[in-house]
Amino acid sequence: MTALFRLIGVGGVIAYRALFNWTTPAMFIGSLLVGPIFQLLFFAYLGRQLGVADDRFYIVGNAVLAASLSCVFGGTMAVANERRFGTLGHVLLSPRSRTAVFLGRALPYAGNGLLIAVSTLTVGSLLLGLRMPVDALPGLLLTLAVGSLACGFFGLTLGAVGLRFRDVWVVSNVSVALLLLLTGVNVPAAGLPPWMRAVGEVLPITHAAQAARRLVAGEGFAAAAPALAAELAVGVGYALLAAVLLKVFEAESRRRASLDTL
């Protein structure tokens, strides 16, 4: 069991470092920490001008959403970049569980997403003047962590699709755009048609944003717990889906000898 956790933890961290070897601190800060803050400001000012919702709605929603960019693209990269760098065959030749190897990869991305979400929430609150109850902070941190983890497994699911389809980045780009629209982060869920709300229910972020808003409003952890549990369920669902897809597509690519030819 220790070996399995070591494989998941250490393997995930090493893969994360290897796949992000090209980045620099300036690039990390610029694209992952500063970018989401401008996204938050864009929607906050638009929301203010249209009178859709107050700043709190946008700060909290976009802070939770901020984790999605790195998690979704990170999860996709965790699988797709192996093919691009020519190392996918080596990973799939490993005598260890590839399910554990790949699921472990979502963890560093989720940690990264949590850092980005916390940074966006902090800076957004300071810039736009959001006050929140101190006793809500532990619950808020847990909510952001669960949301990031769910996004990480969602990204890994998309990455698994990359074992079958070459242009998986199209799916990632479109998914990130759809998260903006369908999760009720920027448009209040009541303003969306029922089918969009239904799709949003099975996407990451939706329930985490609801839980975070309840916590920041001072409603307490008990009020946020159902939404938090729903987000956790969504995350576990995507982890299972990713594991199944990875297994199926790996077997398929071996059978058809199409791993590097797709």
């Binding site: 090209w22 980045t23 690039m27 610029g30 694209s31 500063v34 970018g35 401008f38 996204q39 400001l41 864009f42 000012y45 638009l46 929301g47 203010r48 001008q49 249209l50 009178g51 859709v52 960019l69 242009d167 980045w169 199209v170 780009n173 479109v174 755009a177 759809l178 903006l180 629209l181 920027n186 448009v187 209040p188 303003g191 969306l192």
Partner: protein
């Protein structure tokens, strides 16, 4: 005349090349429509159904900017990955003249975003396309696209030395959308953003297109947009020559 022909043929060639990329096609087909839908629901939620045309036009402009930004950021990187960057830089023409058609082609393909958001809004949400100046709209959009293409050259030139400029471009999408007033009016932004907005061609291009759609003097805005863009073109050409020489001297063109 030969230079203009080279730019036109180059822009057409790169537009054709972009049109063969499943990634470019799928992203360009879907993302602007998602953004337009978001804008429509936001304006509806805000009780502003009368401004839906403004929302569709704004979302279209956002799509044009995204196309220019990612296209310009990826212009150098794409050539580098294809192994054609050195050949481009060896061409017996100033490097700016060889890169400009790439940025113009990305702006050209970005016009799809404007068409898509307007059609999407008309067909699905019944937004009436009652332009205040329909003919001027047909002038303002290409003018804005041309201006953004020239601005793209300045961006592309700054990305020559960066190995992963495409990662940095993510950072520039929302700030320009915000400060240029594409969807959020500049009047609701803090006063210090005013000077920044005033020097960006995107601000004036967006204003010209919006004025053509909803009413206002289009020509002054379009003129300022093109004037600033020409300045960007000149600055981009100088910068491109400078960084190209630097990259040659350091032998880092393919690696930078």
């Amino acid at each position: 005349m030969r230079t203009l022909r080279m730019i036109a043929v180059g822009a057409l060639l790169h537009a054709k090349q972009l049109s063969r990329s499943p990634f470019e096609i799928a992203t360009a087909l879907i993302v602007p429509v998602v953004q337009a839908t978001l804008a429509v629901y936001l304006f509806r939620a805000g009780g502003e159904p009368g401004r839906l045309l403004e929302a569709a036009v704004g979302a279209g402009l956002m799509g044009v900017w995204s196309s220019v930004l990612f296209g310009s950021g990826g212009a150098i990187q794409g050539q580098r990955w294809q192994g054609t960057l050195e050949m481009i830089m060896l061409a017996p023409r100033p490097p700016a003249l060889v890169i400009l058609p790439i940025t113009l082609a990305t702006a050209l393909t970005g016009t799809y975003a404007m068409l898509a958001t307007l059609l999407w809004g008309r067909v699905l949400y019944g937004i009436p396309l009652d332009f205040a100046h329909p003919l001027l709209f047909l002038v303002a959009v290409p003018g804005c696209v041309l201006g953004l293409g020239m601005f793209g050259l300045l961006l592309a030139s700054t990305f020559v030395l960066m190995r992963n400029a495409n990662a940095l471009t993510n950072t520039l999408e929302y700030p320009i959308w915000l400060v240029s007033g594409m969807l959020v009016p500049l009047t609701v932004l803090p006063a210090w953003t005013g000077p920044i907005a005033a020097v960006l061609p995107t601000t004036w291009g967006a204003r010209a297109v919006r004025e053509a759609a909803t009413g206002g003097p289009v020509w002054p805005s379009l003129g300022i947009c093109l004037a600033i863009s020409l300045g960007c073109l000149a600055a981009g050409a100088l910068m491109m020559t400078h960084v190209e020489r630097r990259a040659r001297a350091a032998a880092t063109l393919a690696l930078a």
